[in-house]
Amino acid sequence: MTLVNDAPLNRYRTMRRIRTFEERVGELFLKGQSAGSMLHLSIGEEAVVGLTDHMAEGDTFTTHHRGHGIFLARGADPMRMLAEIGGREAGYCRGKGGSMHIADRSLGHLGANAIVGGGIPHIIGAGITARNTGSDAISVAFFGDGAMGQGILYEAMNMAALWKLPVVFCCINNQYGMGTRVDRSAGRQDFPARAEAFGLQAARADGADVEVVHDTARTIVEGARDKQPGFLEIDAYRFHGHARMDKSPYRTPEEEEEGRRRDPLVTARIALDDAAALDAIDAKVTAEMDTAMEAAIAAPPPAPDTMFQDVYDPATPAPEPQRTRISRVLEDFA
């Protein structure tokens, strides 16, 4: 049980864990240990912790492709996350999903998604389940400003309002959909106004300050538990490129410098004003992530025949490997 007064410090710790974790993901790639380079870091977006801190056991959520931090904040084991990002058997999805498709049903994570907006409508179904089974769980869809351009978001917001479902739409606006800044993709950038138009309770919070996000999110999340679906925009800045290989040639160094000044970790350190305690947290987090990194890199890859598992449920025969089919055809013919 966390004391109320420890909560801001704990939020700082969670944000530091996210920051350090994401740095390790970058290193995993540089060491040639990641599965591919489609790694989308959430550095600069850590204040999402202000919302996840209101979530409880039994709540579910879906994320976009930039969702490592959210999953970590909801209790993920960084070793199993790094193992998944590295395509290892020990990963959350046994090396089948990777960074963009990580999930853990037991922690309520219904799946990260690599189709922009793809996971958003799933919270509608989760909301129907909660309603029909009398559960007080909520379901949260996390997505970026890029998803504000997808029709499925508006279908889902309409359904949420129509059926008064216990759901929250959380738009982490990091200002960029890949290389397109939000003022080049949205005719009007007042996203909460769009949600309000559908009948949702909507707000925007400054992503440079996790405590502001936490305060703003309280009303939204409590509303959702009370069947008033909500929308929260977290105004943030994507510190790095779109994916690991992107050097952001579409924005100026000056803009980046200014954006990176809106650092929720720096804001929290100033507010908490206890360098010794915060440094101690940082050191513990570094050690935790180093251990996770080491274990993930040492973890073996999946066996080749696991490729055919989990296309359907385990009771269904696995798809026939191509070599087996070809051998069968040619041996029969001979």
Partner: protein, 330 residues
């Protein structure tokens, strides 16, 4: 045993499943108050209430997406997409989300939902309401596909579909809703397997859905001169082809009759499998008889001419077996 319509059998399956299991819900456009565009869900709203029979906005991707989320969290949703043609609207949710969740997430999260829809020609509904898009589904690992051609299958396949731990696309035929028949005490074949609808030794015809009936009519007209074996594929993905291959190895000839556009079709897949697995046993090349490679035209004359019917099936089958060319052959 009393005869019921294909539509009644479907409704009975939904009603029975919903009575047995509170987790089963229906959602879709007009499924509640209106009773379904083709009347399949009539009365279910009164019986089960608005929390289980959910009228939705016209938001096909949202309907399928919501069903996925409900399935992931413990319900057994049956989502309805009024016409299979609207698959164009929902393919992301269907092919990228529902089909791949179990696999991408390492077996943790299944999506036990049924997507009910209907397709096919026969009502002059034109190019956007008459297609047979089963190949789109069959081309996607992770999706199951069932297409009932009989009244008994309308009931039993739908019941079986609702018991699957993975997403099932269940495609009815708009031309069969008023067809009458009996619901058997047991399914004609286990879930996932084809059913032999007629025995014969001269030619095997593989078919499904409404073309089953055109094929059976043709087969009856040819007997006893030509004895055609008719295999109803029923469950197209994953496809259990063992009964079909056993049959073709015996008859030495195979024709595949479908309503869908022929190029890149289920018929093409069957023809490829027959070629690979029965090469040494074949007297003739496997032959596809499907819909013309055109969008479906609205004129009843053009529409009916664009897909196979019993007379054409008979002509082609006879040609294949007896080498007697029909009058239309050049």
């Amino acid at each position: 045993m009393t005869e019921v319509t294909y539509r009644d059998a479907l409704r009975q399956a939904l009603n029975d499943a919903m009575s047995e299991d509170e987790a089963v819900i229906l959602m879709g456009e007009e499924v509640g108050l209106y009773g379904g565009a083709y009347g399949v869900t009539k009365g279910l709203l009164d019986t089960f209430g608005a929390h289980r029979v959910i009228d939705t906005p016209i938001s096909e991707p949202g309907i399928v997406g919501a069903a996925i989320g409900a399935a992931m969290t413990g319900l057994r949703p049956v989502a309805e997409i009024m016409y299979v043609d609207f698959a164009g609207m929902v393919m992301d949710q269907l092919a990228n989300q529902a089909a791949k969740s179990r696999y991408m997430f390492g077996g943790q999260i299944g999506v036990p939902m049924v997507l009910r829809t209907q397709g096919g020609t026969g009502r002059s509904a034109a190019a956007q309401h008459s297609q047979s898009l089963e190949a789109w589904i069959m081309h996607t690992p992770g999706l199951r596909l069932a297409m009932p051609g009989t009244v008994s299958d309308a009931y039993h396949l739908l019941r079986d579909a609702m018991r699957q731990p993975d997403p099932v696309v269940f495609i009815e035929h708009k031309g069969l809703y008023t067809m009458k028949g009996e619901i058997g005490a047991a399914p004609d074949a286990p879930w996932g397997q084809p059913a032999r609808r007629r025995a014969g030794q001269d030619l095997t015809i593989a078919t499904y859905s409404r073309m089953l009936h055109e094929t059976l009519t043709a087969a009856a007209a040819m007997a006893p001169e030509v004895e055609v074996e008719v295999i109803d594929l029923r469950c197209l993905n994953p496809l259990d082809d063992s009964l079909l291959m056993e049959s073709v190895r015996r008859t030495g000839r195979c024709m595949i009759v479908t309503e869908a556009v022929t190029t890149g079709s289920v018929a093409s897949e069957i023809a490829a499998r027959v070629t690979e697995q029965c090469f040494d046993f074949l007297e003739e090349p496997p032959l596809r008889l499907g819909g013309e490679d055109i969008p479906i035209p609205v004129s009843p004359d053009l529409e009916s001419a664009s897909i196979p019917e019993a007379r054409l099936i008979e002509d082609v089958a006879r040609w294949l077996v007896t080498r007697e060319a029909p009058s239309w052959a050049a």
